[in-house]
Symmetry: C2
Subunit: 221 residues, 2 copies
DNA sequence: TAGATTGTTAATCGATTAACAATC
DNA sequence: TAGATTGTTAATCGATTAACAATC
């Protein structure tokens, strides 16, 4: 929606240090999601039109976004899925491994821990916490649930960059405060609570209903 | 990202039949999410700046979006939360009740059925289905889990407009096909599978990792 | 009144798209 | 070769934002 700087300039074939615009970064991340899944499903090449069908982004826009960073496609064929995944990861600088702490070992937390949605994109859940003493020590998604008291230590030692909050609304703010105190800079909020955080911390609130309202509007009109 | 038509024109104070642009509709839905929660938390008024803090949309943009439909705010005070919720619901034509069918009574399905994320926005889960006979008949989120065989009938009788798929990847396409056959036009996909559907059906795939990649990019740069 | 915040303008910038030559 | 699809141009349109008068 807003725009910080121009897309990366790569007239010399190399990535410059310039920041991507918000729109480009958001779209690249979406392409990456589809490509990652296409790869898992055994697809070797994909056309801009196919990518468009899955992402709802115009195919010209996709080619334009990609061609700004290099000539990744083959005319008449499309893009190699494998190589495009690597290229976009490089562009988004998220080629490495990033560590996540999951807060909440309830139904939602368990569902998240057991899924591959994060792992597929290089996010590793390195620790699961719960405030409920009866849950501490149990195993969820292959991990032992820890007590909240260990949060600070784990965030520091494991270099956790993202905290995922999967608890009821009433408990969310308290956990957000603890994450902030521990030094986490990105919070992914699965509760509906409006979280108060310092300006240097980014909160992303999951909002399936928003997407649904949006889809419904275009269905109804 | 793309744009279909101009924002609604309301020089006469009434909503015209014109479609909102994709961007405006998406932002209005986001405002609605925050407003709905703010209302639950007892907030009576909210300023464009506060809305901006929660949605990451520029405050001028917010005032501009809203002023296109009427003068909803009070200078020096802000917007009345209650009345703004009603106004946006009217603009998005989602003031009514809409029925959802949930497919999958596993961990994720149970978490969704037990939460209020959909109910808060007028979406009612009217039926839960599972292909596993051992789950059929059990109670999840106050509802009895039904057999997939009843899908067609329920969709027709209950006027289901949205199908939510909360099953493992391998089962997702089969369920999408059944939803399409039953006449559902909007599918909310919590699996990672790339779903094939006819053009008149809209698929929205949940993608927390995409949002995370995006947030991470701006954190890293 | 004084302070705060809306509603609106005007200017800029980026996003979007059709179209098509290039080329695999 | 013939068909398909990329890469790129050029033109348009919408989004974004600072700034500020209006006004609660």
């Amino acid at each position: 929606m807003t725009s910080l700087g121009s897309p990366v300039d790569s007239t010399n074939g190399e990535l410059t240090a310039e920041r991507l615009s918000l729109g480009v970064a958001a779209r690249l991340a979406r392409y990456l999601q589809v490509l990652t899944q296409a790869k898992k499903e055994g697809k070797e090449t994909i056309s801009s039109q196919e990518l468009s069908d899955y992402t709802h982004v115009n195919s010209t826009q996709i080619r334009r976004d990609l061609s700004g960073f290099g000539k990744f496609g083959k005319r008449g064929v499309g893009y190699n899925v494998d190589s495009l995944v690597s290229q976009i990861r490089k562009i988004l600088r998220t080629a490495g491994q990033h560590n996540i702490a999951l807060l909440g070992a309830g139904r939602l937390g368990t569902a998240i821990a057991s899924s591959e949605i994060f792992a597929d994109h290089g996010f590793q859940i390195v620790a699961i916490f719960d405030a409920d003493p009866s849950k501490v020590g149990s195993t969820v998604g292959g991990q032992t649930v820890r007590s909240m008291e260990n949060l600070d230590q784990v965030v520091g030692e494991e270099e956790v960059v993202v905290g995922v909050i999967a608890v009821p609304n009433v408990a969310a703010q308290e956990l957000a405060d603890q994450l902030v105190a521990a030094g986490v800079k990105i919070i992914f909020n699965y509760s509906e609570a409006l979280l108060q955080v310092p300006p240097e911390v980014t909160v992303h609130t999951s909002s399936p209903a928003v997407d649904l309202l949006y889809a419904l509007y275009f269905y109804l009109t």
